[in-house]
Symmetry: C2
Subunit: 231 residues, 2 copies
């Protein structure tokens, strides 16, 4: 860890997007402290992936915080509801799917803010994306701006004159742009996991929204997809 470097907190899910965000934050010279969440998701394989990604990209630290979103229910990702398959990519943004976890990004950003304040970081990086996304309301730019205001009013650091900045470098990038940028930065996508409904041995289902977006991103970028799909 270089004491002259600015610290940043990076939300790391273990998926393609957040791995790319970490690589981008590292390239910008931040000392990156990654945070992941064990929130009762069915796809816990992503937590191991987050650990591998943090290590491979040289993060300064990585913490996994348990948070009982499954106690609240209401989502196919945490409750006993089927993950939808084979949806039409062009129409994914039209409505909010059952994989939506109520207020998940707000909970995750709040915990990232707590971590930032604890480690003394004023920059938070999140992989929110408003283009190739599944229609989640808490990925929109207006939402992220509003959260940044909360961060600056919420905290001891903010009250004492620091300014938190919320970075969403993927917000206007297509999945293909993201794959291209990550590939340039040397991200090994073979160690990332995006699937909402992996098989017990960790293979991606190939048919959930997340797999569909991932596959077509690699295809459009002209990059070979290292993902191990079940189908």
């Amino acid at each position: 860890m270089d004491p002259g470097k600015h610290k940043a907190v990076v939300l790391l899910s273990g998926g393609l997007d957040s791995a790319t965000v970490l690589a981008m934050a590292m390239e910008r010279g931040f000392d990156c402290h990654c945070i992941s969440f064990d929130y009762g998701q069915r796809h816990k394989t992503e937590l191991d992936a987050a650990d591998r990604v943090a290590g491979a990209l040289g993060a300064a630290g990585h913490v996994t915080v348990p948070v009982g979103l499954d106690r609240l229910g209401g989502s196919a990702l945490t409750a006993d509801i089927d993950v939808p398959k084979d949806r039409d990519e062009a129409r994914m943004g039209d409505d909010i799917p059952v994989t939506y976890v109520p207020a998940r990004n707000t909970v995750f950003l709040a915990l990232a803010l707590a971590y930032a304040e604890t480690v003394g970081a004023q920059d938070i990086f999140v992989g929110a994306n408003a283009i190739d996304y599944s229609g989640y309301p808490d990925c929109r730019p207006d939402y992220l701006d509003a959260f940044e205001k909360v961060a600056n009013l919420a905290t001891k650091a903010g009250a004492e004159g620091s300014h938190f900045t919320l970075h969403a470098p993927l917000i206007h990038m297509s999945k293909a742009d993201i794959v291209t940028e990550g590939t340039r930065l040397g991200v090994d996508y073979g160690i990332t996991r995006s699937c909402y409904d992996p098989t017990p041995d960790g293979a991606a289902c190939g048919r959930c929204d997340s797999c569909i977006l991932r596959k077509s991103g690699f295809k459009a970028a002209g990059v070979s997809d290292p993902t191990r799909y079940h189908d």
Copy 2:
């Protein structure tokens, strides 16, 4: 549960303030769903108190959500840092004490929002107070307004036209006003717990900020204090 009633989520810590807020929300006719947090606090006795309070006041439901704030460190309430004692009440608001848990209210409000969206509530009640408080930045009215904006941008319910309202009915009340109002509403303060550093058998220390504010609130209200103090 009356199907004609509007639902509300009430943040319930088991302390004096949130018990009063629950009584106020019940009086206003809401069907109250309470949420508490197991965040690695030293004073877990408050979780049992929250259960008792929810039951005694007739809440429709009560959920306790685990959230690993102790993994992040940084506060006397969750880490191995001494809770300050015998501070001067008049100066408590001058600076932010070591009992401050980074971004705690943001994390708790985010989880309350997730719960509200899950149960179908559009009203969230929180016991934040800007008068007799310990100097926490995330109890200020500006902060709460900013969070309400986030709530309305963050959620599926907000995107579909519902409007979340964040109620902080204690915000401009003194501790004595709170005790007076709760007493009028029949709150049994004997079952609430406010102390940051209780003895192993559950008695309040009598000397932390929370105990000092609680004691002087009862005194100023002219109401007999049912708290069992260690000193």
